[in-house]
Every structure is written in C-alpha cells, then in structure tokens.
Symmetry: C3
Subunit: 329 residues, 3 copies
C-alpha cells in the first residue's frame, strides 16, 4: 500500500485543529490538538462514562451509529478497547482487522480510496497504520471524522489521553506531581505523547533510561523551553523515593548491539516489590502494556499498581471521544 | 474444501426462482432471478433505506435477527458493506472471515455441513466463495435464505444491483441511456452481470476493451438476441462523447503475454481529466473499485465521478435485500 | 505464550465450584462442576431460550453487556455459536479470534495479563486455548467470569452440556437409555466429558473403537466405580440394535502407524443407511462435527440424524449459560 501517490485535495475544515471550540465532527490526530481546557472537557465526559458503565453497563447514546475500525496492523488491546467503548455506547462496529493485507489493500488500493469507501458505510473511522502520518492523510480525504489509533512511531493520542486521565483519577490532580518516565524513552511513542500532554501542567519530570535509549533531543528541548523542572538518570532507584508517577516501558534487548551491556543495565529498569518498598505510600506505577518482565508480577497486588485500572480508563476515554466527536456527549 | 462429494437433496422451494412473487424467504443467487418489476421493487426499498439512514442513521427493522457472513476469501468492501447494512437495520452479524481456511473447513468439512451448522445459529447467510456455483450448492442445502456475495468468476448479484441502482439514481432513469463498458470485459464478472440486468431496459451498449479482453461470445450473442444497439471498440475515446454511463474496470497487466503490447494499449482505458473534458455534461463515471490507476485521482473531484456514491448505494441495496428476504421490507 | 511463569494469587471465590448454589458470577471450567440438579436448572433455561428464539428471534435480557471471545485457536463452530447466543440475548461481543498470535500475545504477553486487560473492557470472557488448564489459570486471575470453550485435549464443558441436552430433548429423558460412544475414544475430549456428565444418570454405556483408540483406563475405572452397565466392542454393528444414542466421532487415519490396518477397520465406525436400517425406530445419531465421512450424507435425511439439531441446541445452552452466569436467567 502506498499513501504517497495521490494528489491531495484541500481538507474541508482544517487539519487537526485545536479542540477548544469543540470536538464535534473533528478528527483526532495528534496530542498537539489538546489544550488544558479541552483535556478537562474530555476527562469530565470520561468520568460520566465510567459512572454510566458502573451503574448500567451501557447507554444508548450512540444507538444507530456505526464505527469502522480499520487496523492495518493488529493491536488486540486498542481494537478491543474501541469495540467495547462503541458497544457500551449502544453503537456498532465494522471490524477490519487482521488480514487487511490480503484484501483490497493487497490489490493495490490506496489509503484514501479505502477511507472514502469506508466512510460511505460508517459514521466515523478509527485507523491504526504502520506508517507515520497515515491518519493525517486519511483525515485529509475523509468527510467523516478520523481517530488516530496509532501510526507507526508517530502518534497514538488516545493512549496519551488515557495515561493522563489515569494520573488525574488516581492522584486527584496533575499539577504539583513528580512524574518519572522509565525505560525506552527513545522509541517509546507513549512516553513522547504523554510528556507533550504534560506541558500544560506544573509538573516535575524525570527521565530514566539507558544511555542509548535517552529521550530524543527535540522533546528534551521542548521540555526545557517550558521551564519545567527536569532531570535524567540511568537508574530508577534514583527517582523511586520522590516519584508520584512511575511510567514504565519496556527496554528491549534487541536495541543493544552488545548483549552483555543489556544484561548489565536491565536491572535498573525493573520494578520489583523490593523497589516498591522505598516508594511513596501514595504514588502509582503505570505501564501501557504489554509488559515482558519489567514489572514483576508480585507487584500486581500492590494497590499502587495502576496499570490494569489504566486499561479500564482507556475504555472510558474512548467512549468520551467517540461521543464527543459524534456530537452526542 | 470440496463442494462436490455430497449427494444433493431436493431443495424445498425451488432454486433461484424469479422474484416477481416476492423476496421473502428466497435465496439471492443470480441476476437472472430479477425482472424489471422486481428491480423496481427493490430499488424503491433501497431509496427508503437511504432516507432512513440520512434522517436517523438506522432503524430497528431487523432488531433481533442474526446474519452469518461466511467469506471463504477476503473482501473488505463487500463484507464491510453487509455488516454496515445489517447494523443500520438493527440486526447483528456473525462475521466468519479471514482464517476460515484454518478452521473446521481446514478439517475437511464440506460446504453443505458448514452451511447447515450456520443456519442453526443465524436467520440468513451471506456467502463469498472462490468456486463458481458455491452459492447454488449452499442454497440447495439450506432452509434459511442464502445471499450470493460472489462466487469466483461466477456471479455477484448484489454488486450488479448496486451498479444498476446507481445509474437510476444518478441519471433519473435507465431507458434511453448509452452505457459504455470499459476495460477487462472478458473476466470482469461485474460487467457481465450488469450487462445482463440491462437486458430489461431500452439501452444502447458499447464495449471498449483490448482485443484479448473482449466480451465473451455468449454474452454478446445474448445482447444481439435482444436487438439492443451495440458496438465494440478498442478506445474509450471513441465513446466518450456519447456515453451517459462509463463503467470502468481494470485492465490487468498480467493478462498480456507481451508486456510491450500492454504498454501500447493501456492508455486507451484510462480516464483522465483531459478525456473527461470531451464527455457530456450530464453523465457518470462508475467503477466497482478497487482501482489501480485506471481512473486518475484528479477525476475524483469531477461531479460526474460517481464511484464513491456507488459504494454508498451498495449499503442501501444490501439493506433493501436483507429486509426483503427476511420479510420486513 | 506461557501460562507458567506467573505467581498465582488466591482466587476470590473458589475455583470451579459446584454450581448447585447458583451460576451467578461463577466460572464454567469443567463438567465436574455440574450436578444433576444444576444440569436440570440450566436445561430448563435452555428450553426457555429456544422458546424465545422460535417466537421472537431474540430478547433484551443481556442488553448493555459485553462478552470477550478470546480464541487462541480458531473454531468457527464454537465462536459462531457464542456470538449468535450473545446476539440473541441482546448483548455484544468483542471477537478476538484468528491472528491473536500476531498481536500482544506475540509480543510475549502472559495469559493472565491478557485476561486482566480484557476483563477491564468486558463483563465475561469465553476462552479457547490449545493448552490444558488454560481456563483454570485464567479463572484464577480474573474477577469476571470465565467460560472454558475448550482447552486442548482437556475440557470443553459447553460441548458436553449441549450433547447431554440434545439427548434429553430428543428422547425425553436420560435415565434408562443405552448410550454408545463410537470412534476415537482415546483422544476424543467430547466423549470423555459427555461420559462424565452421564455418571449422574442411570444409563447403559457401550464403547466402540479400534483397539488403539480405546477409552482411557482412568475413565473406564470411573465408569465401573459407579456400577454403570458397560461394554466395549470393536464394531458398531454390535450395538446398533440396542443403542438409543449413537455418539459418533471421527477415527483419524493419522492415529494408525500401519495404514492397511486403518483400511481394515474403518468400516466398523461408519454410519451408513444400511446400518441405520437395523437401528431402533426411536433412537438418535449424534456427532460433535465436523465430520469427514464417518456418517454418510445419505443418513442426513433420516429423522434419527440429530447432529444438526445438536448444533442448534449449542446456541440455546450457551444462551442459558451466559444469562445464568451474568445473573439474568
């Protein structure tokens, strides 16, 4: 599939606009669209969604609406979360997952043609794509709203929203918190997006990673330009006592050319019950999941382990976005 | 999978009957079942379906009914269209797509057994299968209605219906039109089926293709037997000025043993903005999609480009068929 | 995927308990949970479900509830049956089928993490897994109910329930019947599970198989310990005249190291119209399907051929279980 060879018509309402003036009919492409005001707005709806689910399981808010979930690469977690969200809003989903590669796309259809076809059936499209910028291209051609569910190493805005929402729900507020990002800070798009959302808040940031996986310079410069207190370190032990939020990601063995070097440092990015003994009483451990050993299973029973509640919040945030974009929030 | 080794019981109500006496409980296997009267009937329902979708998004007409979509080969467009149609009618879908080959079918189950199992769960079955005649076999065994969603190079009746419906909706009527079929007329089953549906109307037909991809003789003889005005040509430029409908299909490079021959002729089957300048002011360009270059993207903004509206019509036609076959139209 | 490396927390309500005190909130893991009393209870609900489907197609009993169908191996029949059951109850399904291997599981996620993620979206999880004991592990970690839809050569309790329900519905009662199990009795988990459910009834059991596929000793000892009349034989002809129920399974060629031996005996396990002439007038032939020749197609029109009605019963039993486990029966 190529996303390059199609001349691009002007988009009807502007591309990835600031959302202060409302979500209705807008594309959700990038965290850069969200101001503190629009975050407050969507978090408020997400809280209502949770209340509805806890009380009644679901609502008929989106009864009669159809969402196309177009996943060019599989992602059980994200697609299941969107399907659940749409179901609990009373709407239905056209799941186009696994095997897209065998079908019209394999016949050489361009992304814009696939998008224009699907929008003739559905009211909205959620797009997961391995190429950076795919959602922006889709949004340029679509008259119906596009929600970016991850485009390669680019953005995954709904993940960043659920991460920030979790911090707010777990700790009551975001201002004043010490947030430590741990693990692969170079390639981890969830870390980049969450960091950018935090620019709107008064937080203290720590970045904990091996040398070869440090936060990219452009993001570090953005952080510094906002005069947020920041530090970098190689060992999670350096921040465990002060962190209100420990946002953990996986350090992949494959990133190291010298495996002995990996073995040497990996312990610095593992969250163990012993490490947790030194953490604050009121703090949380987060992880975008899946994990592969970087948070020990024995930590799961610690009330500060927030990663499964974080998953659940993903459903409420996506319910809020779907309802808001369709003008039913 | 084999569809051959099973002794065939007599079908309960007759196979692929003329639909004049109603759609309720009938199989939709072939365009040959449709008379002008039954086409008018189903187009009328499709127009109502569009009105419902535009006004309310959906209806509860098929609430509580279950459709099994059994796709032995993937077809994003067709399966998404049926799922959307069923959803907007308030019903639900059991999607059995991608990976059928790994499952009970891989264990050697015959098509009749799979069909008889699925009809014990669902109220109706939509079947896509790579072998010609598969839908007819399925219909012979099923007590519940079967809708053919394409059987190899055989039939794809719902596609032909949406094509004809598009002509009627775009141009107001079908009688009196000059319809030009362009591209691969030998293997293109959509061309064959649409041509056959047009036998019921007073139209002028043009067939534009390379020599090696000319319309099969049997269909040409059928056309002539109906005394419809007809001509064949090698170049779309020969018909562009008189055509009310340009039905474009892809000329596949792979059909040519001599690639230089392909390069020489392919320009005769490409729809460009320059070509469109010579076309009538009121005419339409259609394509079953996916396209791979045979209609230039710059044509998309031309109001005469009807192919995305054609896709949307597919949903309304399928809604109409589902409702009619289940006796709820 | 590994199900082994995770320390297991104590389960909140006890693992796979006897269901006499009710199904609400319980896991359905093993046939050993079912007493005669709880079987009567669930069969009663299944009969109501059939009445509802025959009369109205569906009900809104589970409106607003979401079921995750997590299939680590494909099973068209079982997954379609659960999707249909949930749809006819008014609920919705998150289908996670085919391709699980490419997704988070492929990234090395443990079964407990996948389960804990899905239960944050869904109200209940149906699990199909190739490893024995996977459902029990899932149930240990989940707060939401788990339904075992087959774990390798282990259990497949909903299949055993629908088998027993079919006997009851077809023949009016279970006590007093002569039940013959035919075919692969060594590896056939459906035979093992159904046999175990029959321990609660006053039945006469026959086991018909080639020497190398005889019923495992542990199950035969359980049968004997219950003092049920039992016999073993090599030829279905030996039991055809006395059997009230003929439960047929496939004898796989691959089980034989010497193919000539297979050719020699296979006729002893094939159900032909000629064989059926010697059977009782009131008896039934069952098969879990798919079949590959062991029941001739010519038998399908015999009113005693119950295997397609058996499939349909699968939907009613699953509707009953879903409703009972969610406390809505």
């Amino acid at each position: 599939m190529s996303t390059k060879d199609v001349p691009r018509p002007p988009k009807k309402v502007g591309l990835a606009p600031n959302l202060n003036s409302g979500f209705y009919g807008q594309d959700i492409i990038s965290v850069s669209q969200f101001t503190r005001e629009s975050l407050d707005y969507i978090f408020g709806i997400a809280e209502e969604m949770r209340a509805i689910v806890k009380r009644a399981g679901s609502t008929d808010l989106l009864k009669g609406t159809v969402l196309a979930c177009l996943f060019y690469e599989p992602s059980t977690r994200t697609s299941a979360s969107f399907i659940a969200a749409m179901s609990r809003l009373g709407g239905t989903v056209i799941p186009i997952t696994q095997g897209v590669q065998f079908s019209s796309v394999a016949k050489g259809e361009s992304l814009p043609d696939t998008i224009r076809t699907l929008e003739s059936y559905a009211d909205m499209i959620v797009l997961r794509h391995p190429e950076v910028g795919a959602s922006e291209i889709a949004a340029r051609y679509a008259r119906k709203p596009i929600i970016n569910a991850g485009d390669g190493i680019g953005e995954h805005p709904t993940q960043a929203l659920l991460d920030l929402f979790t911090i707010k729900e777990e700790l009551g507020q975001i201002d004043g918190l010490a947030v430590a990002m741990v693990g692969d800070l170079k390639y981890g798009r969830t870390v980049h997006s969450l960091t950018r959302l935090l620019y709107s808040y008064d937080v203290e940031l720590s970045f904990v990673s091996p040398e070869i996986l440090r936060l990219p310079l452009d993001i570090m410069n953005e952080v510094r330009a906002r005069n947020l207190p920041v530090r970098e370190t190689y060992d999670v032990a350096d921040v465990i006592e002060i962190a209100d939020v420990l946002y953990v990601t996986r350090v992949q063995k494959e990133r190291f050319s010298d495996l002995s070097q990996y073995e040497e440092v990996k312990g610095c990015y593992e969250i163990t019950p012993e490490l947790m003994e030194r953490a604050k009483e009121k703090m949380i451990v987060m992880h975008p999941l899946p994990r592969v050993g970087e948070i020990h299973y024995a930590v799961d029973d610690d009330p500060r382990a927030a990663y499964f509640r974080q998953m659940e919040n993903g459903m409420y945030i996506r319910m809020a976005l779907l309802a808001a974009v369709l003008g039913k929030a």
